[in-house]
């Protein structure tokens, strides 16, 4: 009988509180994914390239695990409390019929354990599958191809997942069952009256609402004007204003809802009823709603900023070169490098091996006036004032002693990139700028001026700047960048460099697809051969690794936190609404007696859900716009701050995407509510 009761009760709990059960599953999945991160393809790949950085990331995984445990403990505690509170009467009946408290405790523990095991039984395989999927998708997305996909299942992660999950469930259960067991049978069997809470005079709430709005506005202003990052003190004040503002706004919100009850279209069906319902829940749970709103804000900010940052790092340039051999590292000339490659039968593995020559204007004595392009600068100054124009004017004013690049090597590069060759006549030069120092708008502005073929002076000689600004990377190493250089025809290059220049041997693999996988595998194999041959090199893989690390680290961490925060906030709000609906079921039954159809009830309940979710979401979305701004301005380096407007747009798009996720969650809660209301349509026998 005991086990039958346990079996039935745990089944009923899962059915009646599907949202909570869903949250348990997500908890299991979250634990596993964070713990199995080191087994992901991307991480295995990165560990080879950037082992120090990856090790450091892996070192903070236990911190994330601990943080996740801590956060999910509250979710589980809160939702379990709702579930147990709802069954108080039932517990009272058990005790009334002589069940010993120890047995009741054992029964609840067995129910809890059963549901936990079911969550693990479903959650763990789902987590393994999802982790595998993430591993494959990220690998594909970041272009690793398949370095050799490895199954990411980690038994250690699975054990820790189960242990952590069971631990927080057990601790929450102990605290909650302790609270229940201390109560008398009478207290358990009495239904707690719904909607009873001491109220303060309305002006208190009005003042709170206004104070909340003002605090939030002050925090927003501090963020926009950059005060938030000025020093720790001001950052603390901004955070305090934002948090306290959200809290007091929700506390005072009952006043705003009260206004909505009195005003608005009273003739709308159940207008007053549903606003009173919302008001009551806001009165009873303003603190919870404020916390949920802050959690949503954290989720939106993490997601918005995280995706924008990872997109910034992930914005890959066209992939042209696979290898660069820099002879200067060990004093080899390009010819010697070629010989070494040939000696190890490696030369044939390259489709292209060409020299990229880069040097300085050695003919110039006065380094501060080796180059000048006054007509271009004048044309730029005459352009419509804009941020792009000012940045260009500033950057180009330093281009007095630029690097120079030989045309033949650069044209080989363009050919490899399948771009049209550059034709430069006598006394002509093209401008080269690395992508890191420019963007589409600046390029457009500069190219527009270059159409007029402005004159420039190169070591006293007049030259014409022609063509469009060149941006194709000269070598594979991403850390070698040229903010401004001139491309010159080979004779001019030889003259100005006086034969004193650096030569980089650029290589493109003949077969970019390895038998074992994609490009990355091909480069990995070649790296091994080059290491054996003792040829120093810089490969596309290393640069890709650096870029990937930033991308993966920023996106994984922020998205993971965003999902956890959002899930907690949504589950708490959803579970709270549905439980409250069940607690006030008598009201719905009265409405049914008064002639309310299922449609009318569902309509009212759906509006309540919209408001109930909408209030914290709207506050969170408003704050998140400023939150993202604060995060981006605080975290980004000054160089990448130039892309702030673009990144803000990406963040807004991500915030909107999260709102779509919210929409689906709200729809799920609405469906659950509709189903519950349908059960109320069947009258209870009261005789």
């Amino acid at each position: 009988m005991f086990f039958k009761l346990v079996f039935r009760n745990s089944k009923r709990n899962r059915k009646e509180n599907g949202l909570f059960f869903g949250a348990l599953l997500v908890s299991v999945i979250a634990f596993y994914i964070v713990l199995s991160l080191s087994r992901q393809d991307v991480m295995i790949f990165l560990a080879r390239m950037e082992s120090d950085a990856v090790d450091r990331l892996m070192d903070i995984i236990p911190v994330f695990y601990g943080l996740t445990l801590f956060l999910l403990f509250f979710l589980i505690y809160y939702a379990s409390r709702f579930q147990l509170e709802r069954r108080r009467h039932e517990f009272g009946v058990y005790l009334m019929f002589g069940m010993r408290r120890v047995k009741l405790f054992a029964m609840l523990l067995a129910e809890d354990f059963r549901n936990s095991m079911i969550s693990l039984a479903i959650g763990l395989p789902a987590a393994v599958l999802l982790s595998e999927l993430i591993s494959l998708i990220t690998a594909r997305l970041v272009g690793i191809g398949i370095v050799g996909h490895q199954v990411s299942f980690s038994p250690q992660a699975a054990i820790w997942t189960a242990a952590g999950f069971l631990l927080i469930k057990f601790v929450a259960f102990l605290i909650l069952s302790g609270r229940i067991s201390r109560q008398t049978i009478g207290a358990l069997m009495a239904w707690p009256p719904a909607g009873v809470k001491r109220q303060m005079p309305p002006f208190v709430y009005a003042v709170a609402a206004v104070a909340g709005i003002l605090s939030l506005a002050a925090a927003y202003v501090m963020i926009v004007f950059g005060d938030a990052w000025y020093d720790i003190m001001r950052m603390g004040i901004t955070l305090l204003l934002g948090t306290a503002g959200t809290w007091t706004l929700f506390f005072g919100m009952r006043f705003l809802i009260g206004l909505a009850v009195r005003s608005g279209k009273h003739d709308r069906r159940l207008h007053v009823f549903h606003f009173r319902q919302i008001q009551e829940t806001v009165i009873q749970r303003s603190g919870t709603l404020a916390v949920c709103s802050l959690l949503m804000l954290s989720a939106l900010t993490c997601f918005g900023a995280g995706v924008a940052i990872s997109r910034f790092y992930g914005e890959s340039e066209p992939h042209v070169l696979d290898y660069t051999f820099d002879g200067s590292l060990n004093g080899d000339t390009p010819a010697q490098i070629r010989q070494k490659l040939a000696a190890h039968q490696l030369e044939t593995e390259f489709l292209e091996l060409f020299e990229m020559r880069v040097g300085y204007i050695r003919t110039a004595k006065d380094f501060d006036h080796a180059f000048a392009m006054e007509p271009l600068m004048t044309a730029l100054r005459q352009r419509k004032p804009s941020r792009e124009r000012d940045v260009l004017l500033n950057n180009l004013s330093y281009a007095m002693y630029p690097h120079i690049i030989s045309l033949s090597g650069y044209n080989r590069l363009l050919a490899a990139a399948e771009l049209p060759a550059l034709a430069l006549g006598e006394e002509e030069a093209a401008i080269y700028m690395d992508r890191e120092f420019t963007d589409a708008k600046r390029l457009e502005l500069l190219n527009d001026i270059l159409k007029t073929s402005p004159k420039a002076s190169l070591d006293g000689a007049e030259i014409t700047l022609t063509g469009s600004v060149q941006t194709t990377k000269l070598v594979t190493d991403r850390s070698i960048t040229l903010s401004f250089a001139l491309i010159l025809a080979d004779e001019m290059f030889e003259y100005y460099t006086q034969g004193d220049y650096d030569v980089y041997l650029d290589g493109i693999l003949a077969e970019r697809e390895s038998e074992n996988g994609g490009l990355m595998a091909a480069i990995s194999e070649m790296n091994q051969k080059l290491n054996e041959a003792g040829v120093p090199y810089e490969s596309y893989l290393q640069n890709m690794g650096r870029q990937l690390f930033y991308m993966v680290a920023s996106s994984y961490i922020t998205m993971y936190l965003a999902i956890i925060f959002l899930m907690i906030a949504n589950t708490v709000i959803g579970v709270q609404f549905l439980m409250n609906q069940q607690q006030t079921s008598r009201r719905y039954r009265t409405l049914i007696r008064l002639g309310a159809s299922h449609d009318v009830l569902c309509g009212s309940s759906r509006r309540q859900i919209n408001w109930y979710f909408g209030l914290p979401i709207v506050v969170a979305v408003c704050s998140s716009i400023f939150g993202v701004h604060a995060l981006l301005t605080g975290i980004l380096s000054s160089r990448s701050r130039g892309s702030l407007p673009e990144m803000m747009i990406v963040s807004f798009a991500m915030i909107l995407a999260m709102c779509v996720v919210e929409y689906f969650y709200i729809a799920a809660v609405k469906r659950a509510s509709d189903r519950y209301l349908l059960t109320l349509m069947v009258p209870e026998r009261e005789e």
Binding site: P193, A194, G195, V196, H266, D267, R268, R269, L270, H271, V272, F273, R276, Q277, Q279, E280, T584, R586, R587, R589, T590, L591, I592, R593, L594, G595, A596, S597, V600, P683, R685, E686, E687
Partner: protein
């Protein structure tokens, strides 16, 4: 005069085979406009099931219910909601006021439910509030009212849309005798002055003595009927007759005078 409500061979069974309970087993009666009809019977006799069938809260297994000549079993959708809201008014034993709505908002609830503009009901509300003496509590929440005030708010709610019939389910069940007397006097006043038709289920003989006619139900069938001789019979005398029938209810039909 045509009857406002006609019940014909109404049956409602619960359960199956061995566990079959005949809550209503072929009940037939009529209610005339402006009538104050009481339904009495012991617990489990089928009184509330009868009321629930008329209120369309449960559907009968057989028989028919006609309100103003319309078969209510055939109603569906908007017509059914209109019937519930506009043709019948329901007065509950436990008031069933929504505790998060003020008295005013509770009374206006049926208007809101049935899409009637609030303006249309305001005059009626003022009139009812004055008559039922609830003006002072209109803007209070149920928790701040006495039981009698709550039930009078509930009465105003059931009358706000001027329904054809008021179905009262043990309206004095949760009231003390003083408040019960006040409520019954008010209902009687509404019946006499506004010709409100009231169908009241009760097992309180005092409350039943305000009715003009009483049907006694036992085991799902009409077992006896009492009519008050107006104006010759006083409330006291009618009450005595009701008590007599109630005393004999346990002994079967052979004991009824």
């Amino acid at each position: 005069m045509e009857p406002i409500l006609e019940i014909e061979s109404l049956k409602k069974y619960y359960g199956k085979s061995k566990n079959l309970t005949k809550a209503l087993d072929g009940i037939t009666f009529q209610v005339m406009p402006g009538e104050f009809l009481g339904i009495m019977g012991s617990s489990g006799s089928g009184k509330t099931t009868l009321l629930n069938c008329i209120a369309t809260v449960v559907w009968p297994d057989a028989g028919s219910i006609a309100m103003n000549g319309k078969q209510i079993q055939k109603l569906a959708g908007a017509a059914l909601a209109d019937y519930r809201g506009k043709e019948i008014g329901y007065l509950f034993q436990n008031f069933e006021l929504l505790d998060n709505l003020t008295g005013y908002e509770n009374i206006m609830l049926p208007l809101s439910l049935h899409g009637v503009p609030e303006q249309e009901g305001r005059q009626r509300l003022e009139q009812l509030a004055a008559y039922l003496e609830i003006i002072d509590v209109l803007h209070k929440f149920p928790a701040q009212m006495s039981g009698g005030q709550k039930q009078r708010i509930a009465a105003a709610r059931s009358l706000i849309l001027r329904p054809g019939v008021i179905l009262a389910d043990e309206p004095t069940g949760a009231l003390d005798s003083k408040n019960a007397k006040t409520l019954m006097e008010k209902l009687l006043g509404l019946n006499q002055e506004e010709q409100a038709t009231i169908l009241m289920v009760t097992h309180d003989c005092n409350a039943a003595s305000y009715c003009r006619r009483i049907l006694f139900i036992q085991d799902g069938v009409i077992f006896h009927e009492l009519r008050r001789n107006i104006p010759d019979e006083s409330g006291q005398e009618f009450y005595a007759r009701i008590l007599q029938v109630m005393a004999q209810l346990g002994g079967g039909s052979a004991n009824v005078l």
